[in-house]
Point group: D2
Chain length 330, copies 4
C-alpha cells in the first residue's frame, strides 16, 4: 500500500478528487498530529502526485503506519500521565488475577513504593480450560480503579470480549492478550475507542504480523499502542514460553512504537523473572509487565511465576541501576 | 474437574442439593441425549455419591466433555443432513473467498458433480493486514446460501466477530479460524447458538488446548463440533504451515469428536494439496476442507493454494478409491 | 553454483582447460551414468560454453545434484537387490536396538513373513544421555548380518562415528540419524564409501538443508541416497516429533531421490504408528522404517513406540491394500 | 543414575567390591579435585552404602555431572590463563572465518585493544552447502595461533571432524558447533582430550539435552566445559535464530558450568548484535562470542552479522558499563 503525508495546512481537495477518480481503496487518517492517506492497491495509484503531498511512502510489508519510515521520532504513549517510550523505563506490576480488594490494596502499595508506575491485574482471564478461574470481571475493574485512584496509579487490564468495551472506559491502558493478537474486529474497535493499548504478540505471531496487528489499531486513528513481547511458543519446556528478545529488538528497529516485555509469562517460574526482566531492559524495552502477588502460593492463577513484594522490590533496585547505565531512568 | 453422568430418568434432586451444599462450582449440561454435571475443584467434591449417578469421570486434563472416557462411541455431527464422523468421508470445497455469485455458482456445480457434500467459502476474512481484501461479509453469506440452496449443498463459512452471530443464522456450519481458536467469548456464544461448529486448531495450539477449546462449546450444550487440523507453525517454509497428521491422529485417540483436515492452507501451493489430502484420509480424517476456485490465478486471496475444478475432480477420484480401501465411502 | 552435463562420449578436454583458466572451483563427478561438472561461484563461470556440454543448470539453492532440474526420472536405489524408488513400497522393519541373536531371529522371521524387505536394528545408538544403553556396536552388526543372510534380508543400521566405517562394510544400507544429518565429514566419507545411504532429516533441518546434506554425498560420487523424514521438533508433545508429511511431499516435488518415512520415532507411541505409516504411503513415500520388537515392554530403548510382530503384520495388510489403490505394490 | 562422591583420602576398595558385585554399570571419574563414581541403573544400586561415600546424588535427569546438586560452587574454566565463570565477563571476538594472516592480525589487534580476551575465528566451517567456502583448515589454525601468541590472546576455533583432533593441540579452547551438539563420539573424544570446550547448544536441543551433552564430556574426566547459547530455530525470520535468553538463564540455575552467548549468529544482522549482547550479559552470561571482521562486506561467510572493529569497540564500552553495574568486570 501507499502512504501519503499531507503537508501541514495544505488544501488537499484535488488530491481527494484524484483518489476518488482512481479505483483504489483509500482512507484519511489523523495520527500524531499529521493528516495521512493510506491507499491500495499500488497499481491503482502509480504516478499519483499532488502539491498537498509532503511525503510518499510505499510499503511492501503488510503494515505501514506502525513502521518508522515516515515517522522517525519514537512515539511516546501517554497513559494518564505516565509516558511510555521516552527516557524513563516504565514498570507495570500487580497480580496475575485480581482476587479481592485487600489483595490489590496490599500489592498496589508495595509496587508503588518499589517504583512501579502502573498497576496491572487480570479481571477477564483468558483460560485454556472453561473449568479454571475466569476472573472477577467488571468487579475486578472496579477494584483496580478504586485502588489505583487512591494511590495515583493508572491501571492496565486485559480485554477479552469486544462486547465489553463499555466496562473499560475507566481503564487507563487496555491490554490485548496473546490469544487476541489477531482478533481483528477487537483491534479495530480499540482503534476507535482511542484508549492506550498494550498489544501483546501472539504466541506464534511473527514480527511482521505483530506490526500489521498494530496497523489495525492505528488505521482507526489511535496511535497509542505499545507492543509487548511475552514469549513465543517453541519446543523448549524449561521456560513456559521463549522470550524473543531478538524479535523485540527487531521491532525497535522497524517501528516508532514503544516496546514492552513480559518476563513473568515467559519465565513461568519466579527464579527466572529477574534475568529476563534485566535482559529486556538491556535490549531496549521501554516498559516491563511484572506479576507480583502478596502471597504467590495462594494465587488463583499462575502461582509459580508471581514475585513476592519483597523480591519485586529487589528487582526494581537492579532495574534502576541497569536503566541508569543505559542512559535511562525508572 | 469431575463429570457425573445422570442415570436415565433418575431423580437427581438430592444430587443437586449435595452439589449446592458443597463449595464447588458446577453446571448441568444436556449433551448427546444425556444429562451431565461438571463440577470443580475436585477437592470440594471428594466422596460425593448419589444413586442418580451412573458414572463418575475424573479428569486431570483441562477438558473432559470432548474426551472419550465417558462417551466411547464416536460422535456424528449432522450438518443439515450431511453426517460427519460416520462411515462416509465428507469433503467441503469452495473458494478461499466468496467473490461473486457467478464465481460461486460455477465452483459449486463443479465441486458437487465431483462429489463434495458441503460448499465452503470465506465471507469474513481474517487478514494479517488491514490493507488486504477483507471479504464480502453478509453479502457473501447471501450468495453462498442462495447457491447452496439451489444445489442442495449445506454451506460452511467462518465467523470473525462475536457480534455478527445473527448474520450466521442461515449458515449450516460455522467455522472458527485458527486465529480465534482460543477466542473464548466467541466459543461460548457458539455453544449457545447451537449450530455445528468447525473448530480449527490454532497455529500453535497444542492438542490439549484444542480439546479444551472444544469443551468451551460443549459446556454450553452444543455437541456438534468437528475438530479441524490446518497446520501448525514451525521453522519449515517449504509449506505454508506444517500439517500435523500425528496431532490429528492423537485427537482421534482421545476424543469422540470427528476430525477434519485442511490440506489447502497447510500446503500453501496446489502441487502439495493432493499428497496432504490423501495423507489425512489415510490417517483417519472424517472430513476434508479443500479450496477450489474457477480461476485460481485471479483469486482475491490465497491464489497459489486453490485447485482448479478439474484437478479437484481428479483428487476426488483418488480420495474415493482411498476411502474405499479403508472401509469408508465419500 | 552451475552444473554442466557432459554429452555422452564427448571430448571435454577444452572444457577442462576453460575451467582451469577460470578462477572457479570445480569438480568432475560421475553419477547415474553421466559425467557432470559442478563449479562455483557463478561469477567466474558466466558465459562459459563448450561443445561437450549437453545441458547447463544454474542453481540458486544450496544444492543442485539432488534436485530434479537436470534428472527428471526418479532415482531407484538398489539395496542388495531391493529397489527403493520404483513401483514397490519397501518396508524396513526391526527393533529399535539389537539386543541379542534370539531377539533378531525372532523378529526377522516375523517381519519377513509379513512382507518386510529389509531388516533394521540399532547397533550404535545415539543416546541423549551417556548413562543410557549405547547399543551392542560391531557385535550387533554381526548378529544383524548373520540373521539377515540366513533369511535373505538386506540390513540397515545407523552409523555414529566416521572412524567406524570399516565395521559397516557388511551393512547393506547405512543410516545417518537425525543428529548427524549435518555431520558433513561423515556425509563426505559416506559419499566416498559408496554404499546406499538412508539420510534422515535433522529434527530442525529445513527441506533445503536436507537436500544440501544429500548433495554432500552425491558430490563424492555416491548417488544411492534415500531421504528419510522422521519428524521435526515442534511445541506439540502429544507425539514425540511432528511427522512433516508436507515437507516429505515437498522433497518429492524437488528431488529425484526416493523418500522414506519413519512413523515410529515421530509417533512415540504405538497406537499412532499405523495412522502415520498409512499417511506417509498416501503422500508418496517410497519406503517406511518401522520398529518391531518381539516383546516391546522389555525393550532396552524406546519401548513405547515399537510394534509387536502381530500388530506389524496387521499394519502390513493395510499398507498393501493402500499401496495397491495408489498404483503401487509392497 | 546415581552419583557417589568419595570422601577425601578415603579407602574405597570395599565400595569398589560392592559395585563389582552389583550388576550395575559404573565408572570412577576424577573431576574438580574430587573422586566420583557414577552408576546405573538405579535398581541395581538401591541401598548401596559405604563409609567411603561422602554424598549420594540420585538424578532422574539424563545428566548428573553437569548439574549443581553435588557441586554448589560455580565452575571456573581456565583457558590458558583466562578465567571463565568468575567475576569477569570474558569476550571472545574475531571473524566468522579465518581468511588470511593480514585479516587476523588486523582484527586481533583491534579486538584486543577494545578489551576482548580471546581470539576466535572459524577454520573448519560447517556449511549447509558443499559449494560454500569451507574454511582454511589447519592453515587457519596456524594463523590464529601465530597471531594469538604474538598478542597474548588464547584462541578459540571449531572442530568438525573427530579425526582432526591432532590439529587442535595448539588450540586453547575447542568449540563444538550447534550441528555437532549431539555428536556423541566427538564429545567423548573431547572429554579424553582434556582441553577446554565451548559447547554450543543445538538449534533444537532442549536445555536438558544440552546438559546431557556436557555430561558426555565430563564423564570422560574433562570438567572444562562452557555452555554456549547461540539461538534456537523457530518460526520467526526477523532474526536468524531466536536467542533463548530464558534457556540460558535456566541452565545457570541448574548447572555449575559457566554459560556463554553468541549474539552474532542469532541476530543474523549487525544492527541487532548489541541488543542481544547486552541482554545476555544482563541475564548472567559469563562469556560472549562476537563476530568482528576488518571489512564485513567482503567477508567470505556471514558478512551481514559481523561487526566492524569500530562498532565492536563501542559495544565493548557498553558491555563494560553494564557488567560493572551488575557487580562484574570485563
Amino acid at each position: 500500500m501507499i502512504l501519503y503525508i499531507i503537508r501541514k495546512n495544505a488544501d488537499y481537495s484535488t488530491l481527494k478528487e484524484k483518489l476518488e477518480a482512481s479505483s483504489a481503496t483509500y482512507k484519511f487518517i489523523d495520527l500524531y498530529g499529521k493528516r495521512l492517506v493510506v491507499g491500495w492497491p499500488d497499481s491503482c495509484l502509480v504516478g499519483l502526485q499532488d502539491p498537498s503531498i509532503e511525503l510518499i511512502v510505499n510499503s511492501r510489508s503488510p503494515y505501514v503506519l506502525s513502521e518508522n519510515n515516515w515517522k522517525k521520532e519514537p512515539t511516546i504513549v501517554n497513559v494518564s500521565g505516565i509516558e511510555i517510550g521516552g527516557e524513563k523505563v516504565v514498570v507495570a506490576a500487580g497480580p496475575c488475577s485480581v482476587e479481592s480488594e485487600e489483595q490489590i490494596e496490599s500489592v498496589a502499595k508495595a509496587i508503588k513504593s518499589a517504583g512501579a508506575k502502573l498497576l496491572r491485574g487480570g479481571t477477564y482471564k483468558p483460560r485454556t480450560s472453561p473449568y479454571s478461574f475466569q476472573g472477577l470481571g467488571s468487579e475486578g475493574i472496579r477494584i483496580l480503579k478504586k485502588v489505583g485512584d487512591s494511590l495515583g496509579l493508572p491501571i492496565v487490564t486485559e480485554i477479552l470480549d469486544v462486547r465489553s468495551l463499555d466496562v473499560f472506559k475507566d481503564v487507563d491502558m487496555i491490554q490485548v492478550g496473546a490469544r487476541n493478537s489477531q482478533n481483528f474486529p477487537l483491534l479495530r474497535e480499540l482503534g476507535k475507542f482511542g484508549k492506550p493499548v498494550l498489544l501483546k504478540r501472539g504466541m506464534s505471531t511473527t514480527v511482521e504480523e505483530w506490526m500489521a496487528s498494530a496497523d489495525y489499531i492505528l488505521y482507526e486513528g489511535n496511535g497509542n499502542v505499545v507492543l509487548c513481547e511475552r514469549g513465543v511458543r517453541t519446543f523448549e519446556k524449561a521456560t513456559r514460553f521463549t522470550l524473543d528478545i531478538g524479535g523485540m529488538a527487531a521491532v525497535k528497529l522497524l517501528s516508532h512504537l514503544p516496546v514492552c516485555a513480559d518476563p513473568s509469562h515467559s519465565a513461568g517460574k519466579r527464579e527466572l523473572v529477574q534475568s529476563l526482566a534485566l535482559a529486556a531492559i538491556a535490549a531496549g524495552a521501554d516498559m516491563l509487565l511484572i506479576e507480583v502477588h502478596p502471597n504467590p502460593e495462594k494465587a488463583l492463577s499462575d502461582s509459580e511465576q508471581q514475585l513476592t513484594p519483597n523480591s519485586f522490590s529487589l528487582l526494581m533496585e537492579r532495574i534502576k541501576a541497569l536503566a541508569n547505565v543505559l542512559g535511562r531512568k525508572v
